[in-house]
Symmetry: C2
Subunit: 329 residues, 2 copies
């Protein structure tokens, strides 16, 4: 007996945010939660597997933060307020040092967003982390991928492309080799890959204002395509408008490469959202109020697919998205 | 693009029970669900990993059924009505034949219990299956591990021990060797290991009647111990009363071995529940009405721990439970 249960008790159950809507937490057959009246629940599940999504020797604190970010980002894209999370943790061996670092970071990040760990499972096997997060929304207000209309404007939060450049550093595929790039720059980009911040507060400001939203987990090009197909519209996208960090511009050899990074960089956890003309003003003001930088990068049109433009001319770039079963093997 | 998303679409999203309380299912950043008023939600997460919980070449239909059973059993132990399930499926490669068999069985079993697949994640990596199930309960009625009082009676559903004997068959550790046991018997026991039935309807009949309940996933001895420690009581357990199948009695060389199997057999998905004297009659009638066999195996006493008895005499057996990080390596 003992091991598996002690493990959960010791690292996870006795030290967390205690929400009033959690009636029973870790330690019974199920957790019991009670959502407020007139609310809906947004539910999302994401898995991260060693060797596929991260290297087995990755910093456990970074992993905890990344796993939560990835899931919270899905809640942000619906405009939901984070409430509860379940953690399924599979580990090859019981490494208490690893578990301490992971659980410390997990609780710190979860506390910040007032999301309570309500249960999960700890098993032995190849390392992987699966989270199911739940968030609350006022009835009928959720942002989906379906509402984009012709004439609406396309926005993104933050800068795009850094996460992909950071992955180059982690995987040792830096352009021109590591030696040719300043090491301070590479450190910054690597950190950006792990420390993307889910846009929880921005997502909540978009409720009642944006017509559709998605978080950028598979790359802007791929994720915007999901909005377009769900909404049966097309997009004209101005690549010169893409928000690029100074670091990405320094890292990439030419501006087009930086733009292509911005279009295909996965796991950014920025939001891509669609705004009717009527609400542009209020969204720009509200997001500036909470300190979230946003950029208009194009407009919704009739038809299907994405048409890339630069300096008023259409582009013929071939881009690929982020898919664990295909391109990223 | 494509692969990962097509995979989910093709096998899981277009063919399921459609519940009225699911407002948005697979295909957006989150699912959206709306529980009825005055209800609470029971949430449980379980992971099954190839090599730890099952062999990689196990029948995918059996696996789907087992993964759902294990999770539904947690809902049953709280008395909850199954509602929604999220599936995180990690596979080493995209094997459409495997996926078809798995998803067919998954949907068939989920439909039977009217539980809707609302989302999940499909990733590449060593095979594992994590489910998060959610069920509904009337406010304040959930069965927990905390309510057992001195004098209450201890019951179990069904027979115990077959799942452990089935595991012997799967792992090739049959007593006396496979050759010494009838092959028809071994087939039955193997099947029992995979086809344990979650006691969903029995659990619902226990609401308002039982004082505590747990499902038998780590073995009766270990799971009853959880009830005892949560309720601060002890148990006197009569091993001669343990319900044993004819097959287990044939398989085991002596009655004591069969009893020890019944006490330690994990993944049974039977319920162990505690009943105040006042409600014994109504529980026995209600469970007989739905065709669920139950057996009284002992009584709650003051103190702590389990005292095993046979023919009125205390026993000194040393038993071990089911723990992936320790005993079952």
């Amino acid at each position: 007996m003992a091991g598996e249960f002690d493990l959960i008790e010791q690292f996870f159950s006795k030290r967390q945010t205690s929400r009033k809507d959690v009636l029973l937490s870790i330690g019974d057959d199920c957790a019991l939660v009670k959502p407020p009246e007139f609310s809906q629940i947004a539910v999302s599940t994401d898995t991260m597997v060693a060797g596929t999504h991260f290297l087995a020797d990755a910093d456990p604190a970074w992993l905890a933060r990344k796993a939560l970010s990835s899931n919270l980002s899905d809640l942000a894209a619906m405009g939901a307020v984070p409430a509860w999370v379940s953690l399924a943790l599979t580990l090859p061996e019981m490494d208490t040092e690893w578990l301490k670092a992971f659980s410390d970071a997990f609780h710190q990040f979860a506390d910040y967003y007032d999301i309570q760990l309500i249960g999960g499972d700890t098993t032995k096997g190849p390392m992987s982390i699966t989270l199911t997060v739940q968030g609350l929304l006022p009835e009928g207000k959720a942002l989906t991928r379906r509402g984009a209309s012709v004439g609406d404007w396309i926005y993104v939060t933050g800068n795009l492309g850094d996460a992909k450049a950071g992955l180059d550093v982690i995987l040792n595929t830096v352009h021109g080799g590591v030696a040719s790039q300043p090491s301070a720059l590479l450190k910054v980009l690597e950190k950006r890959h792990f420390e993307s911040t889910p846009r929880i507060y921005a997502g909540q400001q978009l409720l009642n204002r944006a017509s559709a939203a998605i978080d950028i987990s598979d790359g802007l090009y791929a994720d915007l395509s999901h909005i377009l197909s769900h909404s049966s519209v097309s997009a004209r996208l101005d690549v010169d408008a893409l928000p690029l960090s100074a670091e990405l511009q320094e890292y990439c050899s030419d501006p087009q490469q930086a733009q292509q990074y911005a279009l295909t960089s996965g796991e950014e956890y920025e939001l891509c959202f669609i705004v009717p003309e009527l609400h542009r003003g209020s969204i720009e003001i509200e997001l500036a109020n909470i300190g979230t930088h946003i950029t208009c990068i194009g407009q919704i049109q009739s038809g299907s697919g994405i048409v890339l433009h630069a300096s008023g001319e259409p582009l013929n770039w071939t881009l690929s998205g982020f898919d664990h079963f295909n391109n990223n093997d």
